[in-house]
């Protein structure tokens, strides 16, 4: 079977940006990958992210998403630490 790759854009905010050392990057994943696969890949690339995985929420295309969602080519995934507006 041929494995097809998709590319997603990843955004890191606030403490997640500092842990990742970047605010955004592109990541290649195999087709059918879920948000949880991206979280694992990001955590592997940027180990500092792992410590905050319990409190960080994920968004896909600017809407909060569960980690089971299947990603598609061109999706934007954001790492959102606990928010502190106001």
């Amino acid at each position: 079977m041929v494995s097809v790759a998709i590319r997603v854009k990843v955004l890191y905010f606030a403490q997640a940006r500092e842990a990742a050392g970047t605010g955004k990057e592109e990541v290649s994943l195999s087709e059918g990958s879920r948000v949880s696969d991206l979280v694992a890949a990001s955590g592997k690339a940027h180990p500092g992210l792992q410590a905050m995985s319990r409190v960080v929420r994920l968004a896909v295309n600017a809407e909060v998403s569960g980690e089971g969602r299947v990603l598609e080519e061109g999706d934007t995934v954001a790492f959102l630490p606990p928010v502190a507006g106001g």
Binding site: L11, A14, A59, V64, A78, P82, V83, A84, G85, G86
Partner: protein, 151 residues
């Protein structure tokens, strides 16, 4: 729908302009909440605050806050929320919420609900700048996976 001013801004928030947008002959009450940068914080003395946002998502959240107010308090005449991002100094206004309604009770309630919802749902973060040059993230609240507050 007519295009309207962005709810997220890098510019100084002018409370008078926020109020102007809400004048309504049917309003007997106009409540304005301003959040301002305080000189003390989690790490002690604070010189200023830096706000950052996931803009696209925060704009949507702020728009939803206004929709929520209109839904929960149908009598409300006008509601406007504005949140600032960037570098702020002590005393600067970081957020403004204004609500006009026929009577004060619903104006106060709706305004309170709006600012609490902003704090829970807007993808905005801030860190304090201390006089000795450190930057300290203000502890936030995890976004809810599903909305549990009455919607």
């Amino acid at each position: 729908m007519a295009p309207r001013a962005s709810r997220l801004t890098r510019r100084r928030i002018d409370p008078a302009r926020v109020l102007d947008s809400l004048s309504d002959p049917g309003a007997g009450a106009l409540v304005l909440f301003l959040g301002t940068v305080r000189d003390t914080g989690e790490a002690g003395a604070v010189e200023g605050m830096e706000y950052e946002a996931y803009g696209e998502m925060a704009e949507r959240a702020l728009a939803r806050v206004e929709e929520r107010v209109r839904r929960l308090w149908p009598g409300v005449k006008g509601v406007r929320v504005v949140h600032r991002v960037g570098r702020l100094a002590v005393g600067d206004v970081s957020v403004a919420v204004a609500v006009s309604a026929p009577h004060r009770a619903e104006a106060f309630e709706a305004c309170r609900d709006a600012i609490e919802t902003i704090k829970e749902e807007a993808t905005i973060w801030k860190r304090e700048r201390t006089p000795d040059g450190r930057s300290v993230w203000v502890e936030g609240r995890s976004l809810e996976r599903r909305r549990r507050r009455r919607a």
